[in-house]
């Protein structure tokens, strides 16, 4: 009977298998199971643009953890600020996060964003310029964390004010010229906050200065401009494609370029210019308290901590925005940046109530123009 192999009892095989898999899963679950922590939700690139992005959280928030004996977990969700609010809405019945960083002055106009937040006025709010606080949100659902301007940048290797005199006093009409529009990269206003800021900049100019139909500009450029998904994608395109020399980005980009090349920047800013006045969109990013979060008291302390110099002094070189706390001294390379007080904010031309009630329909019209 030797040709019959001995058979293991299948029950034994099953039990062994279950035990092995069980141990692996349990071990993994044990290792990754979160210890009691305070969760801060933010978008994927917060403070990630510096020299030592790996240890930045420890450097910036470590002192707070020590002072209050708590683990602070900065959860960089795989998304932008819209995605964070979307997540907070999904979790509204049982919130896990206590604080959220990165909701900006356009997003906070949405009712959904306000519904997941709790208004809170930090005791040290006087560290921040009052105008900035009011521009962001008068009801303090969020308070300013950082700010900057969204505008056009161009690569000085490819163009300058001699070759393109219109760059010195740029108007949307100049930009609509096919020769110029075909050098522009921008971001999808549905998926990117600078993209949305640029979209609203255009409407602000046509609505508030030119008193004309904003749709015309998009109709005339739609065949020429390059609309990328988000800022990183747009940057990659701008950086790699020698025909795309202009991009919708931030006023601090020349400073970033100077910091990393160690020489004069190869990036310059073009501001919109009407009636001898320079305009750009002011973006203010806020920090706020999640409604019904598990640790409200700690969260309030954390928000106050974030307005102090301990956090704010890291913003310039790691976030490439201007710190909301005006006492913080800016690094030298920021001399290359366009400072928000050098421009008139386009935001002033577009009342918040107007944005709030029209944003959805504007974006729909934009979709219709771009897909026509």
């Amino acid at each position: 009977m030797s040709e019959y192999p001995r058979r293991t009892d299948p029950r034994r095989v099953i039990i062994a298998l279950v035990v092995v898999v069980g141990i692996i899963v349990a071990a993994f679950a044990f290792i990754t199971w979160p210890r009691p922590k305070m969760y801060v939700y933010t978008y994927d690139s917060l403070l990630m643009w510096g020299n030592d992005s790996e240890n930045i959280d420890n450097m910036v928030f470590g002192p707070f953890e020590q002072q209050y004996g708590v683990d602070v977990e900065i959860v960089r969700l795989n998304t932008d600020a819209n995605g964070i609010v979307s997540r907070l809405v999904a979790e509204a019945e049982n919130p896990r996060a206590d604080v959220v960083i990165g909701i900006d002055n356009i997003l906070i106009l949405q009712d959904q964003a306000r519904q997941v937040l709790e208004p809170f006025t930090p005791s040290n709010l006087d560290l921040v310029n009052t105008t900035l606080v009011e521009l962001l949100d008068e009801e303090h659902y969020i308070v300013p964390f950082d700010f900057g301007i969204v505008t056009l940048i161009y690569s000085t290797d490819a163009m300058n004010v001699t070759t393109h005199p219109q760059l010195a006093n740029l108007t949307f009409e100049d930009l609509a010229e096919p020769s110029m529009a075909s050098t522009l990269v921008t971001e999808n206003p549905h998926l990117s906050s600078p993209g949305l800021a640029f979209f609203l900049s255009e409407i602000a100019v046509y609505h508030g200065i030119l008193d004309d139909d904003w749709r015309e500009w998009w109709c005339s450029v739609r065949d020429y401009i390059d609309v990328q998904e988000g800022w990183s994608e747009a940057w990659a395109k701008w950086d790699s494609d020698p025909t795309r020399n202009m991009m919708v980005s931030y006023g601090t980009d020349p400073a970033y370029s100077a910091h990393y090349t160690g020489t004069a920047p190869d990036t310059a800013v073009a501001l919109f210019s009407y009636n001898a006045e320079s305009y750009a969109w002011l973006q203010i990013e806020g920090i706020g308290l999640v409604k019904n979060g598990p640790n409200p008291d700690l969260a309030k302390k954390f928000i106050e901590y974030c307005l102090t110099e301990a956090v704010q002094s890291h913003i310039a070189l790691n976030q490439w925005m201007f710190p909301a706390n005006l006492n913080v001294e800016l690094p030298d390379v920021f001399d290359y940046a366009v400072h928000p007080d050098e421009v008139s904010p386009l935001n002033a031309l577009l009342p918040a109530t107007l944005i709030k009630s029209n944003l959805t329909s504007w974006l729909q019209e934009y979709d219709l123009i771009m897909t026509a």
């Binding site: 058979r7 299948p10 898999v21 692996i24 899963v25 993994f28 679950a29 990754t32 199971w33 979160p34 969760y39 994927d44 690139s45 990630m48 992005s53 790996e54 959860v75 960089r76 969700l77 795989n78 998304t79 819209n82 995605g83 979307s86 997540r87 809405v89 999904a90 979790e91 019945e93 049982n94 896990r96 996060a97 949405q110 009712d111 959904q112 999808n188 549905h190 998926l191 739609r222 390059d226 609309v227 990328q228 998904e229 988000g230 990183s232 994608e233 940057w235 990659a236 950086d239 790699s240 494609d241 020698p242 025909t243 959805t360 974006l363 729909q364 979709d367 219709l368 771009m370 897909t371």
Partner: protein, 547 residues
């Protein structure tokens, strides 16, 4: 006996329960809440909106164009693969499956590098025409979307067609030749009826995938084009739950019809030979003109299919920012800590392995249920198996988040949900592969086991499972490949400690860490390639039949 029957029903119904709990319930929860309570647009507003109509038209037309192109390119390759005898055929076959399981974001990168402006092909043309400006951009707009879809789905058509064609009985062919049939007649009366189910099934599946396409359209569509799935994503992000739910409902209605067509098309009957029974010839036996034709065709195919993958391999060792060759991407994969690739790699393997085990465990009863005598159970199981293919993964992910993770407090440590989402995505493939080998079991063997007095348990372990082993292996590998490449749902659910390689690649690309992204993508390609080579070696089966 009654007790036995109850257990049997319970086992057969268990995958259905899992699917109901983790797919139907979350999705229905999201849809009903969105449609009834919003906030956002109502169903009628969405239906009547010109944006919806435009998106729907685009979704349908790009899916049609992509399907036609995939079939045109993939069909001849299916014939060549079945008919030609050449060295390394099994490697080619395993390599062909790789594009199908690549995460879309990897495909996007490979595509831009290969076919985009200033990509490899464009550079070649620029050199040819001595031009400084970009000559050819095949990676943007409609052309880019359709080509990328073809890249994804040509292997599907090729593998499914060649798998069915290999069963062509040589005696049938010889008989036809003896009776004086022309080539056309042979094709019309013998070959076409044989491959028709596979061709139809692959076309429907291709259509389904293109219809649901998300990251490719998002990345290559440049904001000007969006499919229903992109629109759903966008609606969720803008908190227009009414619109998201309405669109998901419209999408579901269409995909269910397609899924039903796929089930119908997959039914196989008629005279078939054993696996790989087809008469094969060598390249040298072809006539002169055919040789040229085949050579040109294979050349085009290699550029389309291998080009983007070659671009990824190149991207893994060449840093375009610093303009140097480097192995940093690979050393990054072994680095732990923020931004390092070690944790994502461990996560990827762990989640994908767990989902594979689950997909096989659930796939088996599902396959049995599909072949059960009870018609209702059989049809229900067939439809349920395909359900995950027909529901947008964004909606499933959002539903899992809302209906399962939040009430259970899992939202800050959602790895079990990632495993569930990946299982659900692999299940249609594992169930299908197991069902096919189940169908091929000789019923007399089972009867003999019964006559010899084997218990149900013994019969399962000593007769059925060994016979099913190849199917389980093929199904398991498919489930593994689908799971490890899954991005949409994982991206939606995962927190940084749960990132998988697919998600990490997406992250790296966003911050322009091209080498790291390339190296991680290469690892995914190699893992899938190795898995499919193992199938070929161990089972002697080819994977295409399982689709």
């Amino acid at each position: 006996m009654r007790h036995d029957r109850q257990i049997r029903v319970l086992i057969l119904a268990s995958p259905l329960l899992v699917l109901i709990l983790f797919v139907v319930y979350p999705v229905v929860n999201v849809l009903v809440t969105g449609l009834l309570y919003g906030p956002g647009s109502s169903l009628s507003e969405v239906l009547l909106s010109p944006v919806t109509q435009r998106v729907l038209t685009f979704t349908i037309s790009q899916a049609t164009a992509s399907t036609i192109l995939s079939v045109i390119i993939g069909l001849p390759a299916g014939f060549l693969l079945a008919r030609l005898r050449f060295r390394g055929k099994s490697i080619v076959r395993a390599a062909l499956i790789v594009p199908f399981v690549l995460p879309p974001i990897v495909v996007v990168v490979g595509f831009l590098r290969m076919f985009g402006s200033h990509g490899i092909l464009d550079m070649a043309f620029m050199f040819l025409f001595q031009s400084d400006a970009s000559v050819l951009d095949l990676a943007s707009g409609v052309v880019g979307i359709v080509l990328a879809h073809a890249f994804y789905n040509v292997p599907l058509v090729t593998l499914m067609v060649s798998a069915s064609l290999e069963r062509l009985n040589p005696e049938l062919e010889e008989a036809a030749e003896l009776l004086g049939a022309t080539t056309l007649q042979k094709w019309r009366y013998i070959v076409f009826p044989l491959i028709r189910p596979a061709l139809l099934a692959s076309a429907v599946l291709t259509y389904l995938f293109c219809f649901m396409s998300f990251p490719i359209v998002l990345a290559l569509g440049q904001g000007a084009y969006s499919t229903i799935e992109v629109q759903i994503w966008s609606a969720f992000r803008f908190f227009d739950y009414g619109q998201a739910s309405s669109l998901a409902l419209i999408q579901l209605a269409i995909t269910l019809i397609l899924a039903y067509a796929y089930v119908r098309a997959g039914g196989r009957d008629g005279e078939q030979g054993r696996t790989a029974s087809i008469r094969t010839i060598q390249f040298g036996e072809l006539s002169g003109p055919s040789r040229v034709l085949v050579a040109v065709y294979v050349g085009v195919l290699v550029v389309l299919m291998a080009g983007p993958i070659a671009a990824i391999v190149y991207g893994a060792i060449y840093d375009p920012v610093q303009r140097v060759y480097t192995l940093d991407g690979f050393s990054n994969l072994l680095r732990s800590g923020t931004g390092g690739g070690l944790l994502p790699m461990i996560n990827s393997v762990l989640y994908a392995s767990l989902s594979t085990i689950l997909a096989v465990l659930l796939g088996m009863p599902l396959a049995y249920a599909q072949l059960s005598r009870g018609r209702i159970l059989a049809e229900l199981s067939s439809m349920m198996t395909l359900l995950p293919l027909g529901i947008s993964s964004i909606t499933i992910a959002y539903g899992l988040m809302r209906a399962i993770a939040v009430p259970l407090g899992l939202s800050t440590n959602p790895w079990p949900l990632i495993v569930v989402a990946q299982t659900v995505i692999g299940l249609p493939f594992s169930a299908r592969a197991i069902e096919i080998s189940l169908r091929n079991i000789d019923p007399t063997l089972i009867e003999q086991a019964d006559i010899l007095g084997a218990s149900r348990f013994q019969r399962l372990f000593f007769v059925e499972l060994p016979l099913l082993a190849p199917g389980i292996l093929v199904g398991g590998v498919f489930a593994f490949a689908m799971a490890i490449g899954e991005m949409s749902a994982t991206l939606f659910i995962a927190l940084p400690q749960n990132y998988t390689l697919a998600v990490a690649i997406y992250q790296y690309l966003r911050v322009r860490k091209f080498v790291e992204a390339g190296a991680a993508a290469l690892v995914l390609v190699l893992v899938c390639l190795a898995a499919f080579l193992i199938i070929e070696r161990v089972s002697g089966e080819d994977a295409g039949g399982a689709l």
